[in-house]
Symmetry: C2
Subunit: 336 residues, 2 copies
């Protein structure tokens, strides 16, 4: 069995390094071929590292990149930070993948800068597995916001990369790829979306199922939804906004009604089930795709369970060599 090393930025999450260390402790026995390198403040890490383990290593780092740091320059300015050091470990081939919950912008810029783009890739993308309303069926959604001025070429390459993710992470043999858009007709959307539709429709290596409107994207009719990062990020944050508004207003409405209060208590397990199923952050991490090595991004608000599922994603991506699959698929696509 091949041995792998995962570089973990232990200082990125809101509860860092507790979340990161607990997630690693939870998984270390399950993944007997994986060594975890925890990058961060060794004293703080030691507080949560309840037991020594030969496959858990700590690499002391003297600083942390925070939300205040400038995204574009953070890893260069704070070379000694846990995030920069963890990415550097992969760059120097001392680890196979990096994972962080820290400053998203800094991580996107930093991983792109230090790991580099795969040959043929115009721009990397931030991709995530997302739930559908069909239980147990997930999909891949990208770009979630790595690039905010993406062109039809980016949308097209995102489709290719998403297709490989769906194959490898979701086990879908022939992923159905849809283009996010504001209508189903081929001429819908802004200029780059009309052009991307044409490219996707002409590409034999893609099973293109046409445009999908965000209101239908959770119905389970596709395995990959591709777009550029501006619309992708707007979509993602709209989904969060409606979830937030839904819960806020439901709470207000329940409070006004005595019967509803009892109903709410009885429904709590179902509401928890709902929340777990629709929260994309619970079903794995996001990742930068299009780079020479995997960089997984867990949400800043991750709890141990969410961070652990992001680590599982990292291990799977490394074991199945998603990077090589993407590199090959991009080379083979006729319009890259």
């Amino acid at each position: 069995m091949s041995q792998y090393i995962i570089a973990v930025d232990a200082m990125g999450s809101d509860q860092a390094p507790k979340t990161e260390v607990e997630a690693v402790l939870q998984l270390v026995d399950q993944f007997s071929n994986v060594t975890f390198q925890l990058f961060g403040d060794e004293n703080k890490i030691a507080q949560y590292l309840q037991r020594e383990h030969e496959r858990i290593q700590v690499v002391h780092c003297t600083s942390v990149i925070t939300g205040e740091d400038d995204a574009a320059t953070a890893v260069r300015v704070k070379k000694d930070s846990s995030m920069a050091q963890a990415i550097m470990a992969v760059r120097q081939k001392n680890a196979h993948a990096v994972i962080s919950s820290g400053n998203t912008g800094a991580y996107l810029s930093g991983s792109t800068l230090l790991l580099g783009r795969l040959k043929g890739i115009h721009r990397p993308a931030l991709a995530s597995t997302m739930p559908t309303t069909k239980k147990g069926q997930n999909m891949v959604f990208l770009d979630l916001g790595a690039i905010s001025d993406g062109s039809e070429k980016n949308i097209f390459q995102n489709a290719i990369m998403g297709q490989q993710m769906a194959k490898i992470l979701l086990g879908v043999k022939q992923p159905r790829v849809a283009l996010l858009n504001n209508g189903t007709e081929s001429k819908k959307g802004s200029e780059s979306y009309v052009a991307a539709h044409q490219m996707l429709a002409n590409e034999t290596a893609i099973q293109f199922v046409g445009n999908i409107e965000p209101r239908d994207m959770f119905d389970g009719g596709c395995d990959v939804v591709t777009c550029e990062g501006f619309a992708g990020n707007i979509t993602l944050k709209s989904l969060e906004g409606m979830q937030k508004a839904f819960i806020e207003v439901l709470t207000q409405e329940v409070k006004q009604r005595f019967g509803a209060k009892i109903g709410y208590l009885l429904m709590k397990p179902a509401l928890r089930g709902l929340k777990n199923r629709l929260d994309y952050r619970k079903i794995g991490g996001a990742m930068m795709v299009g780079l020479k090595a995997p960089a997984i991004k867990a949400h800043g608000g991750s709890d141990t369970e969410a961070f652990a599922s992001a680590i599982k994603m990292a291990v799977m991506v490394v074991e199945k060599d998603l990077t090589t699959s993407i590199a090959t698929a991009i080379t083979e696509a006729t319009q890259s």
Copy 2:
């Protein structure tokens, strides 16, 4: 008291003309200064027009524009349709405003073509009042999708038009205007959003509160959210998508649990309250802004109550002369 005439396309909604006729009957006594002209099949309209009324007129039309008709050409190809005739009534100054639940694309193109743009307006926009999580506090959101290749100029003018809508329809004296974006920093977003941010920040006639991410747009921190139509439509449909997914998954989760089923029954009134408060279609119609006369758009799935609230919006827009307010504000804005 001034007398007004509202031209109603009676054949547009899913239940047409029942919905339209019932809504007019519901409102005719309340608005004693308004005459309603119902455009459509006179036999079908007669089925629902339970009583004669001197301020309800029926104008027989021999065809209907459906969802199958080509949006760009529908009102020209079907000149005798209820939608085209209702818009024509306003064009010929026989009515003060038009309202329809029919084919959105056809209505947008048709009203733009037949009514014409206000002087100084680059492109019209589709605007709607939207709920917030603060009970009783609504906001204006535009462009919802009239234009899918809008520039910073459109985003800027949408802000001016939305500001007038908020003043007149929501009664907000100094509307706070926000720019939809994927981050709060001024440099965030695609090229046209960065440029629009600058224009808005420089405009003294606007109380600009900066960028707003869709996840925060319902919090009540602004009265107007401006954007171009592609991101606007994607946002709107993402909100619908999450609402749909929420209800679908909640139903699945409740069905699995006996206690939750009882809880669900007890919570039904609260869930109905939630639905009514978050459904933007319930709180008034959308409208085309930037045209020489008001064209109100009710949702195709409108029930009587929803269509009636769209009619109320039409009356208010006419009585308060929103069109002149917009024309004046556009002329006065320094960067139009």
